[in-house]
């Protein structure tokens, strides 16, 4: 799309396995710290085959909400609200009228309130109780995080959830970007949230046979699959003119969004779909391959994704692919499904702003099928003008965002 307004980011928020704020999340990513650890959140951790996940640790709902409010919020909505509050506080925006009705709330979520799901069904199937808690349905619905953020922050414009599994947040942010760019809204609070480390969900992932037993090593030889994560990241988007007029601190600029569907296999990654999404984002941003220095990869750590994504990077960037710094922050925070794209875009924006690329940790040695520069194990200083963040979902739904350093 040509014309339209330039869209800048003026607030960021995160709840992650590496800390409950953007500051702690980003510091730990740069330090190459692992957020992985033993599964502790389910009622029967010992029975699981999968022993490791990237949990948000020591999250105390009562530090953020009163008791009455906590009873209405699944963990996924709690994460979304805490991240949204941080992003809005940083932006310095008060969502009074008329801005409130001109602000969109678009939140990506893969599966919604899984803790509520699991607990309620356990109650009826296992404990043989004849009733579940009255707010079971509005807590578990997939739009709960979007609704709860709009309620908590007083955002009265277009609000909805976006569900595309592992690409949910990237699709959500991309739509918000398009709405702000096109002038449909004056501001957007957008991102993704997921809290899927429950007994039933983990059993589901175990059955897919794609989980690593211990460490997530994207692009490395000897990688054994993904590690499930959780968390939320939210951001405030607004037109450049608006941000300038109010003297806001500008953290970065979103410049392009590409989407595609594989229309092929349910779970196997597809080269063509990945390439079309990346190409779409670059074209939308009017970026040539050589303009980009950093790619925050989808990089799940599965054999198939990382090999196919490498091929897609070769195809999309040509000879310039060799010069890209590419890293997977999933090596540190696991795969937070519907929140992943938002957590990763926060990392991408801060990489560009600070000129430092977070590493791919757990990297052992090169795999001949993954022959690019994955910034192994140690962060790297790098001046970045433009970067790309990839998300490729089960079901063959792909979304890619391009960002630029604000100058």
């Amino acid at each position: 799309m040509t014309g339209g307004q330039r869209v800048v980011v003026t607030g960021l928020g995160a709840v992650s396995p590496l800390g409950h704020s953007v500051g702690s999340y980003w510091d730990n990513l740069k330090a190459g710290k692992s957020g992985l650890g033993p599964v502790t959140l389910t009622p029967a951790n010992d029975e699981l085959t999968q022993k490791v996940a990237a949990e948000v640790k020591d999250f105390e709902p009562l530090k953020h909400f009163d008791e009455r409010r906590v009873a209405t919020l699944d963990r996924v909505s709690q994460f979304a609200i805490v991240a949204a509050r941080e992003a809005i506080a940083q932006s310095g925006i008060a969502f009074d009228m008329p801005l409130s009705v001109r602000t969109a709330t678009i939140v990506g979520t893969g599966v919604g309130g899984q803790t509520t799901h699991d607990d309620s069904f356990r109650r009826v199937y296992v404990d043989k109780r004849s009733r579940v808690f009255p707010l079971t349905i509005p807590k578990l619905m997939v739009n709960a995080p979007a609704s709860q953020v709009s309620m908590d922050c007083g955002l009265r414009g277009p609000a909805f959830a976006v569900a595309s599994a592992c690409a949910s947040a990237t699709h959500a942010i991309g739509l918000a970007f398009q709405m702000v760019r096109g002038g449909a809204v004056d501001c957007a609070v957008t991102g993704g949230a997921e809290a899927c480390i429950t007994f039933g969900t983990l059993r589901g992932w175990e059955a897919m046979r794609v989980m690593s037993p211990d460490v997530c090593r994207p692009f490395s030889k000897g990688r054994l699959g993904l590690i499930l994560g959780e968390g939320a990241a939210m951001m405030v988007l607004e037109p450049l003119e608006r941000a300038r007029a109010r003297g806001a601190q500008i953290l970065g600029e979103i410049v392009g969004f590409g989407m595609s569907a594989d229309a092929a296999d349910l779970t196997a990654p597809d080269l063509g779909g990945m390439v079309r999404a990346m190409q779409g984002a670059l074209d939308d941003a009017k970026l040539a391959p050589a303009d980009v220095q950093y790619v925050n990869a989808h990089g799940t750590g599965t054999a198939a994704n990382d090999e196919t994504e490498t091929k897609a990077l070769h195809q999309s960037f040509g000879a310039h692919a060799q010069k890209l710094a590419i890293s997977s922050t999933k090596s540190m925070v696991g795969h937070a499904l519907g929140a992943a794209g938002a957590l990763e875009l926060v990392a991408t924006l801060l990489s560009v702003r600070d000129g430092i690329v977070p590493p791919t940790i757990g990297y052992l040695e090169p795999d001949p099928a993954c022959d690019l520069d994955y910034v192994p194990n140690q962060a790297r200083a790098l001046s970045i003008d433009a970067a790309v963040s990839n998300s490729f979902a089960f079901g063959g739904l792909n979304a890619v965002l391009a960002v630029k350093r604000f100058a």
């Binding site: 059955a207 054994l224 699959g225 599965t302």
Partner: protein, 86 residues
Amino acid sequence: MSDVASDVIAVIAKKKRVDKPTVELSDRLADLGLESLDAVEMIFDLEEKFDVQIPYNANSANVKTEFDTVGDVVAAVEKLVAQKTS
């Protein structure tokens, strides 16, 4: 042929994607057209049928060598069933 072998063959026969009237122990899973998700479903069916746990990670390079042929799968299941009853 053991009971386990004929049961394993029956499970694999349901998953195969090539037009081949019979499934032999020497058949390679790849030649029967089993894709990665088919293999995961096959493992699930076998685990349910024999009440065993088959170690299988689709990302592991070992999997392709350990479960190359139908006979490899039969041998793995027979071993697990024997362990269970011993």
